[in-house]
């Protein structure tokens, strides 16, 4: 699966071009379930001690371990969710189980066509021990732990000398770091366990920009260009990417319509909805929900829906709807308003149940309860993601 992943979007030369870059980095594909690594540079593989086959197709969390800080993992999780860059110190583990600090910089790569995130690029620069905690005055316990004290240094240098560092800037940074150990590091230690130096930050940023220019270049040749900044989305009714991601977790058939746009077009349709109705996503987005109605649909029911929507109230109806192939089905439909973080009704969510499927599952939740749980999940997602969470 690995070669196709990259080649689909980039021309065949991209792999060689990436291989020529000296940096430690991986490329992941968020569109594939599990968000796997689809490319790992030689430098990266040397640093972590895995071979390529062991890494491709796996998720980046395989490099994390017991002492990897949860707060850092959360930073990265939120950056992925919000599809933005992040630069953070992270404790990762090699295959042999030894931990090492590195500067982790992650950047999304967008499709030029529709603004979707195609890949994430993650550059990893090992951090020299300059600002490592001194460990002086700490107990023996800490020295035994790989994370702290001398144990860490030994591991770290072993890794750098033998395998990774051929880079002179990096050698230089480390040499000067050795001189300044243990004097005034205490403050840094308590603030952040391992702060990267400016040299390392610059190195990470430079690597990112090299990789991105390779990707951009080789995507242009395929006519499916990628870009580093999300292109301005034109046209109405595009949801934020992060909301899209959250909604994808909800597996039932439902649509979201935008209450602020004229005629309330559909701005999100779940996989199950497409399966139920037989339409493709692009045929559905931008439509008003009435397109599911047909000749035998009861106009009184339609009016009833309209009234509830105008009054911003939830309602449940049984309505005759039509699939793309014009076959009809009784839709047990629940509609509810959904407010954003400002407290305004921003969307309506409509959850469909094909009435024939209503009487399954005796041990699970009732279909009615599952509809309501979709309403709840959508309300939580919309509220949380419209709070202006890009605080850092």
């Amino acid at each position: 699966m690995e070669p196709q992943q990259l080649i689909l979007r980039y021309s065949g030369w991209v792999r060689e071009a990436l291989d020529e870059l000296p940096d430690c980095f991986t490329i992941t594909d968020p569109c594939v379930s599990g968000h796997p690594i689809v490319f790992a540079s030689d430098g990266f593989l040397k640093m972590v001690g895995y071979c390529r086959e062991e890494v491709i197709g796996r998720n980046g969390r395989i490099f994390q371990g017991p002492d990897t800080r949860r707060s850092s993992v959360i930073e990265i999780r939120e950056a992925i969710r919000e599809e933005r860059c992040v630069q953070i110190s992270l404790l990762n583990y090699r295959k042999d189980g030894t931990p090492f600090w590195m500067l982790f910089q992650l950047c999304p790569v967008f499709s030029k066509d529709d603004g979707r995130v195609i890949n994430f690029v993650a550059v990893q620069v090992p951090i020299s021990r300059k600002s490592r905690r001194s460990g002086v005055g700490n107990s023996r316990r800490e020295m035994n732990s790989c994370e702290d004290g001398n144990g860490f240094r030994d591991n770290f240098f072993r890794c750098c000398r033998r395998e990774v560092c051929s880079d002179s800037i990096f050698e230089l940074g480390r040499a000067s770091a050795m001189d300044s150990v243990s004097s005034h590091d205490d403050e840094v230690e308590t603030n952040e366990p391992c702060e990267a130096s400016e040299v390392e930050k610059t190195k990470a940023s430079a690597a990112i920009s090299n990789i991105l220019s390779v990707l951009t270049h080789y995507s242009e040749l395929t006519g499916r260009s990628v870009c580093v900044k999300r292109c301005r989305l034109t046209g109405n009714g595009h949801l934020s990417a992060s909301l899209n991601i959250s909604l994808r977790r909800i597996k039932q058939s439902f649509v979201l319509t935008d209450a602020f746009l004229p005629d309330m077009p559909i701005v999100y349709a779940s996989e199950a909805f497409l399966k139920l109705t037989g339409y493709d996503r692009h045929e559905v987005l931008g439509q008003n929900c009435r397109f599911l109605s047909g000749t035998d649909t009861d106009t009184v029911t339609q009016f009833q829906i309209k009234e509830h929507i105008q009054a911003q109230q939830a309602c449940t109806v049984r309505i005759l709807n039509y699939r793309k192939d014009r076959t009809s089905f009784w839709n047990f439909l629940h509609i509810s308003p959904v407010r954003n973080a400002s407290g305004k009704v921003a969307f309506f969510v409509g959850i469909q149940i094909d009435e024939r499927c209503r009487n399954g599952e005796t041990h699970g939740l009732s279909p009615e309860m599952r509809q309501l749980s979709v309403v709840g999940a959508v309300k939580v997602a919309v509220r949380g993601l419209s709070m202006g969470a890009n605080s850092s």
């Binding site: 969390r61 800080r69 959360i74 990265i76 999780r77 308590t190 309403v375 939580v380 605080s391």
Partner: protein, 442 residues
């Protein structure tokens, strides 16, 4: 001396306000007591007790993996929305404006003008973390059955089980999840362990494990559980945990930490760094129970030493934050500035974790990182005091005993003021031995 503060009590049940007027005779409102209980049914969710690891390797992108919404999550959201549509809540919390306060830490503010409307302040005693259960005051057996969402219990076998219509078996001492009719966010519920045993607000091993299981079962990092002890802004002395959904990280979850020690069964305990409220964070452990015991034993130690505290279960049960606090005591002693008191923000677990519910529009509009920080800094113990409290915990909690190099001298425990000791002993089993180490002075 008895320390009290005045505050508006939170109305968690629609049957709470009438409580004072109620004569106590005949009920007829479908409550959870013997008058109404016979024949009643409620959904029952039985979780598997498996000793699985709490911490699989960190979840790099649990969001992009898009696991389907978990069953408990779906049950809770569905039942809660059902109560929304039945009009059981005092207000629509999703109509309350909320935002992330600009700045480095990402404090969260909500404007909630309806939560405390029309309530008279009541006096609360804040200098005793353990107080006996008082049958005459409001407790959760008095809520309406429609306010209870489901029963939550360990499964008999090793599988998750769900019974949409299970009888409420008094003998079996069920734990239940009920709505809070004054929610501070969507899905705000109360977990009431063994409700019919009428336990006072006091952590025990079994109850805390139940709460931790709930976080693990929900499997949603944006669903967190919290606990307030008496003296740390709990208002109802009937054992309960709170929980709600908020799909954004709490500032406390982003705070770095510094490891202090690892217990014999692998639970790591750290100081929280770079955060206005000092506290401890517990994580890892060989299984859920180890993590749970480390926290509950710490809480038990704080209770017995009369130190008010708040607990946050975050990260789907992977991390637990523990904050000993001293705000209510300062408030009772008149040491909190009028400006802070005017905001009427009670720094309980959610506020301490960085989620501020504000009652006045001007406070919401003017909310800044500095203000939030200033308020929370008042809640925090001093560095020395936290260190003392930590030593106290390490000495008392038996699961830490095997930890090497913890030959700690618990000076604090021996410096109980004799004046307080007499009163402390009234509670019988409430306070053992060490007396009251002078409720935290900064």
């Amino acid at each position: 001396m008895m320390l009290k503060i005045k505050r508006v009590p939170t109305v968690v049940s629609n049957y709470q306000k009438e409580d004072a007027e109620e004569g106590g005779a005949g009920c007829g409102r479908n409550c959870l007591r013997s008058c109404c209980l016979p024949g009643s049914k409620l959904p029952l969710y039985a979780f598997k007790k498996a000793n699985k690891l709490v911490c699989e390797k960190g979840s790099f992108d649990s969001v992009n993996k898009e696991p389907p919404v978990e069953f408990l999550d779906a049950l809770l959201l569905g039942e809660w929305e059902d109560r929304v549509q039945r009009g059981l809540f005092r207000y629509d919390v999703t109509a309350c404006e909320t935002k992330v306060i600009p700045g480095k830490y990402g404090f969260i503010a909500q404007l909630n003008e309806g939560r405390h409307l029309k309530k008279r302040p009541t006096e609360f005693r804040v200098d005793k973390v353990l107080q006996p259960f008082d049958e005459t005051k409001f407790n959760f057996t008095k809520v309406g059955q429609e306010e209870v969402l489901f029963q939550f219990e360990p499964s008999e076998n090793n599988h998750v089980q769900f019974f949409p219509n299970a009888p409420i078996d008094l003998e079996n001492s069920p734990s239940v999840v009920a709505i809070n009719v004054s929610p501070i966010e969507y899905g705000h519920v109360l977990l009431i362990p063994r409700i019919f045993e009428c336990l006072p607000q006091r952590i025990d091993r079994e109850s805390f494990l139940l709460a931790l299981h709930m976080a693990v079962e929900a499997g949603n990092p944006y669903f967190r559980l919290g606990y307030n002890s008496l003296g740390a802004f709990a208002t109802i002395n009937h054992l309960h945990f709170q929980a709600y959904y908020l799909a954004t990280p709490f500032p406390i979850e982003r705070a770095p930490s510094k490891k202090i020690t690892t217990t014999s069964n692998g639970v790591e305990i750290s100081y929280i760094l770079n955060y206005p409220v000092r506290g401890l964070v517990f994580e890892h452990g060989d299984n859920i129970e180890d993590l749970s015991n480390a926290v509950s034993e710490s809480c038990i130690c704080l209770q017995e030493n009369n130190i008010p505290h708040n607990v946050l279960i975050a990260d789907s049960g992977k991390r637990v934050f523990l904050f000993p606090q001293c705000y209510a005591e300062k408030q009772a002693l008149g040491e909190v500035s009028a400006e802070l008191l005017d905001t009427q923000v009670n720094p309980a677990v959610w506020e301490i974790s960085g989620h501020m519910v504000l009652k006045r529009k001007e406070d919401y509009e003017g909310a800044s990182e500095e203000n939030a920080w200033r308020l929370l800094a008042e809640v925090s113990l001093s560095e020395e005091r936290l260190n003392e409290v930590k030593e106290l915990i390490f000495e008392a909690a038996s699961c830490f005993n095997n930890v090497e190099e913890n030959k700690v001298v618990a000076e604090v425990a021996t410096t109980a003021s004799s004046e307080d000791l007499g009163e402390a002993c009234e509670d019988g089993d409430a306070l053992k031995g060490s007396g009251e180490p002078a409720m935290v002075h900064v």
